[in-house]
Symmetry: C2
Subunit: 80 residues, 2 copies
Amino acid sequence: MKKAIYYHAGCPVCVAAEQQVVDAIDKNRFEIEIVHLGEHKARIAEAEQAGIVSVPALSLDGAIFHINFEASIADVKGIA
Amino acid sequence: MKKAIYYHAGCPVCVAAEQQVVDAIDKNRFEIEIVHLGEHKARIAEAEQAGIVSVPALSLDGAIFHINFEASIADVKGIA
């Protein structure tokens, strides 16, 4: 099973993107985790190490895709 | 069947993203089309009307998601 992680910060743009992008992923092949970085500050470091510089972002087996743009990780640290 | 369209311009970043993002989409629910805007100039207008401002970008049933950033549509027009 591959792993998909969707990182967001709870903003309206992030949630709308989450519903559509996460919905499109093949659940038979991907285990999907949703991480709200504003509520889980401890995972910000993990996101940064993975190469995430803004949210929302999607990790597909470790490959990072920044989807649209709502906030930088620096912004998330400020609001977290 | 929902429709997913992946717009790109043939750049290495676009192709790498294509392989991973398109691979993750559930083919049982989405019909997937790949559009190389550099080779299909006639579809640039369609992409712009859909709201695409840069590539690579993914349309999921009309909702546009800009994935990472390789080139603006203006750049694509220049190289197309």
